[in-house]
C-alpha cells in the first residue's frame, strides 16, 4: 500500500507550488495516474481527502485522471493503445492488439503526475 506516500508527495508538491505562487485558495488539482501503476485511484482519492485537511488544499476539487496503457510491438511495429480490460490488466501487457505477438514494450501507463492546479490569488502578484 504505497498510496499514502504517493498522496503525501502529491499534497506536498501542490502546496509548495501554491505557496510559491501566493495562492490564497486552491480551487482545483488534476492528477494523472497511469492504469499500470500499482495505485488504486479510489484509495488515492480517499487518502488525499484525509491529507488535505487543514491545508490550503482543503475544499479543492481533486480530479484523478486515469491514463491508458500504450505499447510498441517489436514484431509488427504497432504503436498505440493496448487492449484494456479493467478486470484483467494482464491482457494489456501480454500481447499486441494488432498481430497478437507477445514481444511488446510498455511505453505509457506508468505515470503518476501532478499535472496542474487552478488557484486564486491577489491581483497584482505577477512576480511569482
Amino acid at each position: 500500500m504505497h498510496e499514502l506516500s504517493m498522496a503525501d508527495a502529491m499534497v506536498k508538491t501542490v502546496l509548495d507550488v501554491a505557496e510559491k505562487n501566493d495562492a490564497t485558495e486552491i480551487i482545483e488539482v488534476t492528477i494523472e495516474v497511469g492504469k499500470l501503476t500499482m495505485l488504486n485511484p479510489e484509495q488515492l482519492k480517499f487518502l488525499l481527502d484525509v491529507l488535505v485537511e487543514n491545508t490550503l488544499l482543503e475544499g479543492a476539487d481533486i480530479n484523478i485522471v486515469e491514463l491508458p496503457v500504450e505499447l510498441n510491438c517489436n514484431s509488427c511495429e504497432y504503436t498505440g493503445l493496448a487492449d484494456m480490460d479493467d478486470s484483467d490488466h494482464y491482457l494489456a501487457i501480454v500481447k499486441c492488439p494488432e498481430c497478437g505477438e507477445r514481444n511488446v514494450e510498455i511505453t505509457a501507463g506508468r505515470e503518476c503526475n501532478v499535472k496542474n492546479i487552478k488557484i486564486e490569488k491577489e491581483e497584482g502578484d505577477e512576480d511569482a
Partner: protein, 217 residues
C-alpha cells in the same frame, strides 16, 4: 481583487524516482559495482538465496537489506562478515531510489563488486520503483500457488531473471511448476526462468552463471 490562475506543474513522482534511480546506477558504475534488485513475496526465499549466493559466489559481495524492520535479515547477512546495510521502510511496502541512495553512504562501494538489494517482500508495490540496479531478479516459490505469475503480471514482465524456488515441495503443495515457468514466458518471452531448490541445490549453478552473465555484458 482576486484572480484565478492555472498553473502547470507536471511533476511526475515516477519520473522523479527514475531520475534518482539513474543517478544511483551512475554511482554504482563509477565504483564498478554490479547491482541486483531482489524482489519477491514474503517467504519466497529471497534472504536464503542471497545467503547461499554469498557463500557460493566468488565475488566481493555487499547487501542492502530492505524490510519493514530490517534488522532480522541484516543480522543473517552480517554473519558472513560482508558489508551490510539495513534499510527500515517502516510503514512502506517497497524500497525507492531515494532510500537506496542513502544506503550507499554507509556502504564501502570501492571494496565490493556485487551488490544485492533485497526489496521488501511484496509482488505489487516495488514494481513502481526503479532503484537503479542493473537487473531485477524475481524470486517466487511454488508454495505461493501456481497462479502467482498470472495474478502479478507486471513484476514478471519487467524482470531480468526469474527464480521459481522450493520446487522440491511442488507436489506436496499441489503446484504445477511447469505452468509457472510457461506463465512467465507468456509475459516475458526472452527472460531466463530457473527452477530451484535451496534445500537440494537444484538450479543454483544456473542462477550464479546467469548473474555472472549479466555482470560480464
Amino acid at each position: 481583487m482576486h484572480k484565478i490562475a492555472d498553473i502547470e506543474i507536471q511533476h511526475d513522482i515516477m519520473v522523479a524516482n527514475r531520475k534518482l534511480a539513474d543517478r544511483n546506477q551512475k554511482i554504482l558504475d563509477d565504483s564498478d559495482v554490479f547491482s541486483v534488485d531482489v524482489l519477491g513475496a514474503i517467504g519466497s526465499g529471497k534472504t536464503s538465496l542471497i545467503e547461499t549466493l554469498i557463500q557460493k559466489m566468488d565475488h566481493k559481495i555487499g547487501v542492502i537489506a530492505g524490510d519493514v524492520i530490517s534488522k532480522f535479515d541484516a543480522g543473517r547477512f552480517e554473519k558472513y562478515n560482508i558489508p551490510v546495510v539495513g534499510l527500515n521502510t517502516g510503514k512502506e511496502c517497497h524500497l525507492d531510489a531515494h532510500l537506496v541512495e542513502h544506503a550507499f553512504g554507509d556502504l564501502p562501494l570501492e571494496s565490493i563488486d556485487l551488490l544485492f538489494i533485497e526489496n521488501v517482500g511484496n509482488l505489487i508495490c516495488p514494481v513502481d520503483f526503479d532503484l537503479g540496479s542493473h537487473i531485477r531478479m524475481v524470486v517466487i516459490s511454488v508454495s505461493e500457488g501456481d497462479d502467482t505469475v498470472e495474478k502479478h503480471p507486471l513484476i514478471f514482465k519487467e524482470a531480468d531473471l526469474v527464480v521459481i524456488n522450493k520446487v522440491d515441495i511442488a507436489d506436496a503443495v499441489g503446484a504445477d511448476q511447469d505452468k509457472m515457468v510457461s506463465d512467465v514466458k507468456e509475459l516475458n518471452p526472452t527472460v531466463k526462468v530457473i527452477k530451484s531448490s535451496l534445500k537440494t541445490g537444484q538450479g543454483l549453478d544456473e542462477i550464479i552463471s546467469s548473474i555472472e552473465g549479466f555482470m560480464n555484458r
